[in-house]
Amino acid sequence: MASHHHGGSSNAVAVSGARIALVGAPNAGKSTLFNQLTGLNVKTGNYPGVTVGRETGFFSVDGEQFALEDLPGAYSLASVSPDEEVVRQFLAGELDAQGINKPQAVLAVLDATTLDQSLSLLSQVFALGMPTCVVLTMTDELQMRSGSIDTAALEKALGVPVVTSLAHRRGGVDDVREACAHWQHWSTPVVAPPTDPAGVRQWVGSVLNTAGYKPADPDSRTATIDSILLHPVWGLLAFIGVMFLLFQAIFTAATPFQDGLEYLFGLLGDFVRASISIPWLASFLADAVIGGVGGMLVFVPQIMFMFLVLAILEGSGYLARAAFLMDGLMAKAGLEGRAFVSLLSSLACAIPGIMSTRTMSSSRHRLATMLAAPLMTCSARLPIYVMLIGMLVPAGTYIGPLQVQGLVMFALYLGGALAAMITAWLVTKLIGRKANMFPFYLEMPPYRFPTAKTLFIVTWNAVAAFLKRAGTMILAATAVMWLLLNISIGQGSTDGNNQPSLDTSVAGSIGRVMEPVFEPLGYNWQINVGILSSLTARETFVSTMGQIASADNPDDPAEALQTMTYTSGSREGEKVFTPATIASLLVFFMFALQCVATMVVLRKESGSWRWPALAFGYMFALAWVGAFITRLIVEAVTA
């Protein structure tokens, strides 16, 4: 038996009904059906060793529990890409050894408006020889576009049960649920269809003929909308408008919620500090647990809004149009259109950006996009930028009509984006030879209204995945950081001293060990500790520097830092935060992969530690060299 991943009854191994695989072409309504059947009762993960996301949902009929395996949307079961190879292995039962059992039956989702296309997929499903049931979706759309089909005749022609489902309507999946209860009676087709291309076409033709299929007219509504949204001028303007809206959702609409959460965690921290009398425990709970995890939780509103807007764009069909419009530009960096959306999401946080690459068909494009994503300026860099720019440029400095603080911020965003594009270009060039040839294609589905339930489930799953991470990984990382900052070595423990001395802490020693690396950039050991702590979450740099510089003025770290001086070495007595140091720090944070959470996700999505390790090394080198050159230039200019 496989290991127990999940508490409770929702374990893939423990179903009393059957394990059913959900197969269908992209845009056939597979996800909507999956969400309506299983709701929030979903377990996500990866297939072993590859970059393919795995979703298993659970539902019950007549007291029997069923596991539904949502396979990636496919036009064919032929294993062309490594991702499809996993699907093939799964359906053939070759993953049994890894604890992923072969499904007992197949639900094949077919879009009634593209039946001539999706029947060839079905012929391959039939070749598996498993009990199969066909779910026919979009029959209302077929009628609306003056097509028709005789479902009973289709059932006869295919030789397996056919149920229709309008998953977006209330009760639209009841028939499917009911059909699953009788899965033992699902048949394998009496006469297996041919497997050679010409034979398949003939079989498809005869099935459609028998079922009295009248194809749908081209969707006139979609054609009208596309004539505007894909127009070379109006389409690009609309695209800019939509992206602006996405930004607004991430940065403006989420802000009040973010401020509210920040305030609440502040109150909670104060309360804990005031009510717990054991100093180390109060400090651990308030600084490490509430401060650390709370610092991550304030990003929940941003992540929620971004996934909601992305789910609306995806469900409506616009995301494919956006990728279509951007493909020409992205191709110049060796990427594809869908990468634009991923890189844009990375402006909130690289984690959802990396996760959103799952829709890409080429593993080469996907890897290049994932490695480029951490260079986009994420929102965790903002607090650092705000603090450092505030120290570098006095507020209200103008060059002509342009405010200099804003100009520096813009340059940092631009620098990150440029580095991301160049990195992507490099990666595709380097792995281009080994990666398989793969045609680029992008289906343009008809415009449809996404259902509220699907939007809710997609958003919730993204937030839940993030919460799980904040509750485990980030908590562990902040706890370790707190220990390093608070455990003294050498002169015994903190003997009743409320303010453990950073000088003697483990973190302080590590900061000194790091000195040879960062000395050329002008960073003292205190800054090194800040850089180390920022690995848990970049914005921790700000609070750590505050803690370090001034125990009694943590609210205004910038002020306390301004007066800090080097205590040793060749620069002893000089101010630490000169323009050269600040500019070099800004460049360092622009490029460095200072985020353990991103590396963990990169590991999860790429299937090996090789890529996060490579990304960390590469971005560190980029950051160090960039910061060093910046320091030299600024020193020369300000000397």
């Binding site: 036009y75 493909d327 680029f440 992008l442």
Partner: protein, 82 residues
């Protein structure tokens, strides 16, 4: 009826696929799965800006391909007659 690459078909034109260049077994298999097989009717719908892909209607759905792919698909050029 001259045989021309799909990529040189004008917007709004309809044609029947004559052949697909043999490039790579997997590459060809994927185009076949997508519906680009000899005898299939294709219509060019619209082009993306910045030298981007082109949307085609093939069988009953709409799909975009880059120029490099469309150049390997050959069609019988003739005027649209449904």
């Amino acid at each position: 009826m001259p045989i021309i690459p799909l990529s040189s078909l004008k917007r709004g034109d309809t044609a029947i696929i004559a052949s697909v260049t043999e490039r790579d077994a997997k590459w060809n298999r994927r185009l076949e799965d997508l519906g680009f097989t000899p005898g299939t009717v294709v219509t060019t719908l619209r082009r993306a800006p910045f030298g981007g892909p082109t949307v085609y209607r093939v069988r009953s759905y709409e799909l975009s391909l880059r120029k490099s792919e469309a150049a390997c698909i050959f069609v019988n050029a003739r005027s649209a007659d449904g």
